[in-house]
């Protein structure tokens, strides 16, 4: 890939609490897609991974509740300060690799239904708590309690990656597009009569010059502008998701580069360096782990 002039550029079109819409230009398609993939699966967050039940007389089974708890997004802005469980020196869990949250609720009054939501989760680390959209947010429903029902449990939240389980993915969806006018002819329209009439243009088409009808097809053209629409689950700010994903990519390149260099020396013998930042060989308590 040879980039002319300036390097890759990002232009943010829209940014709010849980959404960023930006345009990446002067980059190759492979890099652009790698960024998308990294955002989905390789940006670490913190999510509940182990649930220890003390009391559960609700209608929902333990595994059911554990799964629900696992999917609750937790604020993970300081995720970088945590270690992966596999890298931590502790035997089970410690404050360096995990956050403890507790949940206690009981319904005592006749005819009343207690709604247990993510707001009832008490975190031991104020920085890692369930995501709330604002102070009026009642939180995510976990379970409803009827009279006499009680729930008491301890959750252990850990750092993890989206590729291990979707609960660790910081994004809910990543929209991605380039070449809205199909100038590059990367796709073939299925049409009945007229593609222009039958196929709606995406909103990104307004950002590019529509091709003139008599424009010749440039078969050497490469995609250059990529439109992203990142929607997060709230655990990490959207702009951070993007920059963390870029960091992940850079880290990977670094590791690859080092391995290549080592590989050159290795021609005479020796082992390539183990990449360090991978958490996917973590042993997981198969059934009780939240959400597995």
């Amino acid at each position: 890939m040879d980039i002319e002039g300036a390097g890759p550029e990002i232009a943010i079109r829209h940014l709010d609490k849980d959404r960023v819409n930006f345009v990446l230009s002067n980059a190759d398609l492979s890099v652009a897609n790698a960024l998308r993939r990294a955002m989905i699966s390789e940006v670490p967050t913190i999510a509940i991974d182990i649930v220890q039940f003390e009391e559960n007389t609700t209608v929902l089974a333990d595994e059911f509740l554990a799964h629900r708890l696992g999917l609750i997004p937790l604020y993970s802005a300081n995720v970088e300060q945590f270690k992966y469980t596999t890298e931590c020196v502790c035997t089970e869990y410690c404050s360096a690799c995990s956050v403890v949250l507790t949940l206690e609720a009981k319904c005592t009054r006749e005819g009343e239904t207690v709604m247990v939501t993510s707001r009832d989760l008490q975190s031991h680390d104020p920085k890692v708590s369930p995501v709330m959209s604002d102070e009026f947010d009642r939180g995510i429903m976990i379970v409803k309690l009827h009279k006499g029902q009680e729930i008491k449990l301890t959750c252990i939240a850990r750092k993890g990656l989206g590729q291990m389980h979707a609960k660790w993915s910081p994004v809910s969806a990543v929209g991605f597009e380039y070449d809205p006018h199909n100038r590059l002819r990367h796709l073939e329209y299925w049409i009945e009569e007229d593609a222009k009439k039958e196929w709606p243009l995406s909103r990104n088409a307004d950002f590019e010059e529509p091709p003139r009808d008599d424009e010749p097809f440039d078969y050497n053209a490469e995609p250059n502008k990529f439109y992203y629409d990142v929607e997060t689950v709230g655990s990490i700010r959207p702009e951070d998701v993007v920059s963390m994903a870029l960091d992940v990519l850079q880290e990977k390149l670094k590791v690859t580069e080092a391995a290549l260099q080592e590989g050159q020396t290795m021609l005479t013998g020796g082992m390539p360096g183990e990449p360090t930042n991978d958490g996917w060989n973590q042993p997981v308590d198969a059934m009780n782990a939240a959400g597995w």
Binding site: N33, E63, Q163, F176, P200, N288
Partner: protein, 1143 residues
Amino acid sequence: MTTKERPGDASLKGLTDPVSAVEDKWHLLPAFLQVKGLVKQHLDSYNYFVDQELQQIVRANQRISSDVDPNFYLKYLGIRLGMPERSDPLAVDKSYTPHECRLRDLTYSANIYVDIEYVRGRQIVIRRGVPIGRMPVMLRSSHCVLTGRSEAELARMQECPLDPGGYFIVNGTEKVILIQEQLSKNRIIVEKDGKGIIQASVTSSTHERKSKTYVLVKHDKIYLRHNSVTEDIPVVIALKAMGITSDQEIALLVCGTEKEFLEKFAPSLEEASRLKVFTQKQALEYIGGRVKQTRRFAAARRLPSDEALEILASVVLAHLSVEQLNFRPKCMYIAVMVRRVIATISDERLLDDRDFVGNKRLELAGQLLSLLFEDLFKKFNSDLKLNIDKVLKKPSRTQEFDVYTQLQMHGDHITGGFVRAIATGNWVLKRFKMERAGITHVLSRLSYISALGMMTRITSQFEKTRKVSGPRALQPSQWGMLCPSDTPEGEACGLVKNLALMTHITTDVEEGSIRRLAFVLGVEDINLLSGSELYSPSAYIVFLNGEILGVTRTPGRFVANFRRVRRAGRISPFISIYTNTHHHNVHIASDGGRICRPLIIVDHRRPRVTVEHVKMLSEGKMVFDDFLQQGLVEYLDVNEENDSNIALYEKDIVPETTHLEIEPFTILGAVAGLIPYPHHNQSPRNTYQCAMGKQAIGAIAYNQLNRIDTLLYLLVYPQQPMVKTKTIELIKYDKARTLLLQRYYLPAGQNATVAVMSYSGYDIEDALVLNKSSLDRGFGRCQVMRKQTALIRRYANGTFDRVADPPRDANGDIPFKFQKLDADGVAAVGDRVFPGQVYINKQSPTNTNADIGVGQNPLETGFKATPMTYKGLEPSYVDKVIFTNTESEQALVKLLFRQTRRPELGDKFSSRHGQKGVCGIIVQQEDMPFSLQGISPDIIMNPHGFPSRMTVGKMIELLAGKAGVLKGELQYGTAFGGSKVEDMSRILIDNGFEYSGKDYLSSGITGEPLSAYIFFGPIYYQKLKHMVMDKVHARARGPRALLTRQPTEGRSRDGGLRLGEMERDCLIGHGASRLLLERLMVSSDAFEVHVCESCGLLGYGGWCQRCRSSAHMAPMKIPYAAKLLFQELQSMNIVPRLILEDY
């Protein structure tokens, strides 16, 4: 049409909305279901049995007298069924709920009380409310505690308000008496048998007797055939024996004045004279000589002619009663049969079709129970009589004889008879020598739909093995009565059917008043008529339930008047009347088991149901019964339907139209009603879905978590489908109306976002590609609950089982095997039990038979461990434990295991269009294709599933589902209606999507757009119960069968994988002899024997017992099975000798 297709509950529809014509007439359907419900036929039938038939049976068997004491008698004055009560005599509160019965393995039953009048000493005593036994109570019937309860009350009883009822609980299992299909009784059916002989047959059925009578043609002569006579009787002789001796009169009765008939009948007349039978006496003697000898030695020798008279009066055509030897009606009947046969000879179109639904009757729980009860009651009475005689025979008694005490001793017979019949499904009736198996089935609780489907199922008495297509074929007369789609594949195809949505099955209606009405409306009595009047061209013979009433000369007016009376509500709405112009007959039917359905009456080209009526219905001012009472709607059975002109839609009404369909989609049943756009699918696909919908995992009932079933599958996050049908709303109907917006559903599936495209190679042959993140988020996740029970018994010798606490080893630690046990010896709730761990630590006494000696402590007999150990590959959690006792006071421990499973490779899924597939690969979300919005599919389906299957309905479902998602509302895929493709495309376009449902997807791997547009949107997917976890099986070494020493068979026994005959053939073909040897012997049951080379017999340990020598012994390896064979042959005095040679 548009308003009709809009979603809407009657009560939700705005009053300002224009009510377009009678298009909204479909509102009648929910109204109908509210009154009738889907299982109303079962309930009606049971209620009729309990309220009416019970009395009739008792009245018919009212009196018991003694052979010993002529003064003694016992008379039943009345009978009634109480409310369900526990049988425990010490219970303070005797009421119990069905759910308690399910949990405690009890039978949900009520006492049968009789009022009796009997002789005690010199007095006549009347006692009321004497229990004579217990009868199982049908849930939600008039005698069930659940009937008429509010939802809150039902919840308190742990009962689901959506449960249809209509089944029994016997020994804790839910049992359904399936609807039985039979040929109608007491009707003439003319057909051709295998040899081409035309015969008219009548199956007579009364309480006492069942018999079949034929009138048939043999060599141009007509005969009467019946089981009680050894050979066919010329019909003329039969008529003469019944008192019509003049040939002229016989000819008149059969042929009227028509010459063609006479010509055909003449040979029969001639035969009678050839046989020299002229008078009644001669005829009776002729028949008497051919009566089958019964083994009734007790009956005094009677004259053959008397016997013949008796048989003719009460056995032949038993449903026609002969009063005071007035044979005339029966003669007329036979004459009519003969005439039908003669008419059919010249015109074969007059043959009847026995597959015609109008010729069918459906037998329901009530009728079957009534048969059973009558048998049990008769047996009860005869046992009682024997006992009474035994007591009365004794010359002196210490006490005055009171039958009351005797009566109570016999209670078990009726109770046990019912329980046994329903529990096993074997109906054994001594009276009719009937022995039917497989009448009852365990109610399938796999999903709500499977339970509903079972309640509407109809089985046929036809043998499944017979290769005839007639009974299996779809009959045009099934229209609207039986579902055209819902039938199983394979051997029962077409024999097992299901009711359509609006079907009703009649119960018996008393005949007397109908008979009087018919005479009032101008029917001339049969007894006053001669043949010429019977068959005069203008005369129509009027039948009532197959019996000739008389003749009417104005059939049109008669039928019209009769219907007018019925529509006015003066007689039961279920009485049908129709004209058969081919036979010049008018048939009135009031018997039970006819299939019928409601239709809107049309006169003068105008439907009687108007916009006003529908409006009042939706405002709740009218209910369905009002429509019936006011004569706007009426029930037609299949025969009357044939006599009517029914318009499908209002626009089709022509001057001849008599009725209008309420709603076309009601031709489908409840199960087929789940399919969206079924009218766009290839028909077998709908049939496949009907079979698969019953295997879908979902919510079962509101009380699903309180139930302890042998096997229970639950979906963790069930969803209602994006594209539903009116039927879906209706079958879960009932409660939605009262709670207005709060709708309850019991769905079995999830709305998956599906991309129809090829992805990897793991999607061939219908395999599906699943998105791992979707699975992480709960797609297709299910819970499997499994029950384990242990009975803590008491034995006859005073010993008993016990449950022991976990044992400890020398260090005081509990070994792994017993770790999950609580101090009470049963695994703790919430604990995870691993394979090999004990969950009920039961111990049984070593000696349960012999006497342990008086005064000895039963605990000292010694116990052996009989623990229940968890088997299975994956651990389970203990969900529930109950300790209780059964009716026989034995302690019962039930334990419920739970597993939560996420979909894995090989799990089976299906859409609602008969398109099933297994998961072929699970793909990370970032590798999945995604749309512009970043949406990636939950499921990728291979497009090759479409062309050959032609499930266009699935495509439209996707389209409508996508439109619904974009618009934020549910769409309808109701049969013959539903949201229109055009409207759906419009919504897609308005939301910036392509009109045909295709989307621009990019590859998740490269980021490039996929070069084609992908059909992409939500489709409702069902997870089916077949999961890999329950099926994985492999074995290297393992257990062997005791007898043959060959590996065991089957997964449950950790069996080997069989190298079958065909595989063997393959190896033989390849000449792989060593491999064959290894597979069939070495790896199976190789056994070393010592063969004596001199005698050729097997020895042992190098010693030949026969030769008494060890000189010529040779060791060799043979299959153990072969050694077994040799020994078995020897035991039969056959000597197998092995002749050994060097090789």
